[in-house]
């Protein structure tokens, strides 16, 4: 898959995991396993970028005597997901058009 495309997809994937509840790095990766494979070193810059863009906020909470970073989706992040869905509706239309031409 195209790297730039995968990056964009992963950003939205990570955000969508946070829709249910706040989560932390390792859990985000495990939750995404059924959808797309992602490594720690790939997730890290994605989280940083989403944080810089204001799509998620970060807070630390204690867990088993150590601090763990939790990520929480913001309104900006929700909007990003909605934008993604809208945009991909168009892309799906194009996809179907191309697919139809190919079959004909």
């Amino acid at each position: 898959m195209d790297i730039q495309l995968k990056r964009g997809l992963l950003e939205v994937c990570a955000l969508s995991v946070l829709l249910e509840e706040d989560s932390y790095g390792y859990k985000i990766i495990k939750d995404l396993e059924g959808c797309i494979t992602i490594s720690e070193s790939t997730l890290y810059p994605i989280l940083r970028r989403l944080e810089a863009a204001g799509a998620l906020s970060v807070y630390s909470a204690e867990h088993n005597g150590r601090l763990r970073k939790y990520y929480k989706i913001t309104d900006e992040g929700r909007k990003k997901i909605q934008d993604f869905l809208d945009e991909w509706k168009d892309i799906m239309n194009v996809y179907e058009y191309i697919e139809g031409k190919m079959k004909a």
Binding site: Y24, G25, Y26, S39, E40, S41, Y44, R48, R68, K69
Partner: protein, 198 residues
């Protein structure tokens, strides 16, 4: 590899990045190892599953903003740009030659500057001469008139008037010139400072 070894090695490889960046990255990977071990992996497995340290370091670098990278580059460049030893030795050995040249050039510049001011002072003296001459002209005119020498009186008056006129012109011109010289000097100093600060 243990967690501590892994973090030490990673720290070494990303140490030159901005300190906040380094710390955050280390925290992130430390947390990842802890979470994996909590999930049932051994320490060695958890570290191994993160992949190569070189790849991690490169990935972190790729995400740094361009401005940070450029800054990093220039910092490295100036660091590496120390003069080699032979150049320093040559500089010291050659001092009698280049030292003399530098002193000579400095002396010439200072002399030229002094000459400009000397001309300025000389012209100001001329203003004074004109002022005194016009005064003499007036006095001469009065004295000649008292003695009945009207021709001489007229000459003194004319000469005095010429001196007054020239004096006023020169005075106005000199005021501008001196002011300009002061401004020029201040400007030169500012440029010099700018060149040093860089």
């Amino acid at each position: 590899m243990t967690k501590v070894e892994f973090l030490d090695e990673l720290k070494k490889q990303i140490a030159e990045y901005p300190s906040g960046e380094t710390e955050q990255s280390l925290e992130y990977y430390s947390e990842m190892i802890d979470d994996r071990m909590e999930d049932g992996m051994t320490e060695g497995e958890a570290v191994a599953s993160l992949g190569k340290i070189e790849d991690i370091a490169r990935q972190i670098k790729e995400e740094l903003p361009l401005a940070t990278l450029v800054k990093q580059k220039t910092k490295e460049k100036t660091h590496g740009k120390r003069l080699p030893v032979w150049a320093i030795i040559l500089l010291i050995l050659g001092f009698p030659l280049w030292g003399g040249l530098v002193i000579t050039i400095l002396a010439v510049v200072v002399s030229l500057y002094a000459v400009i001011w000397v001309i300025d002072i000389a012209l100001w003296s001329l203003v004074i001469v004109f002022a005194v001459s016009s005064l003499v002209g007036v006095i001469g005119c009065v004295l000649s008139a008292v003695h009945g020498a009207f021709g001489s009186a007229l000459f003194y008056l004319g000469a005095g008037m010429v001196c007054v006129g020239l004096g006023i012109f020169l005075f106005l011109g000199m005021r501008l010139l001196t002011k300009g010289l002061c401004h020029g000097t201040a400007w030169c100093f500012r440029q010099f400072k700018k060149a040093i600060i860089g």
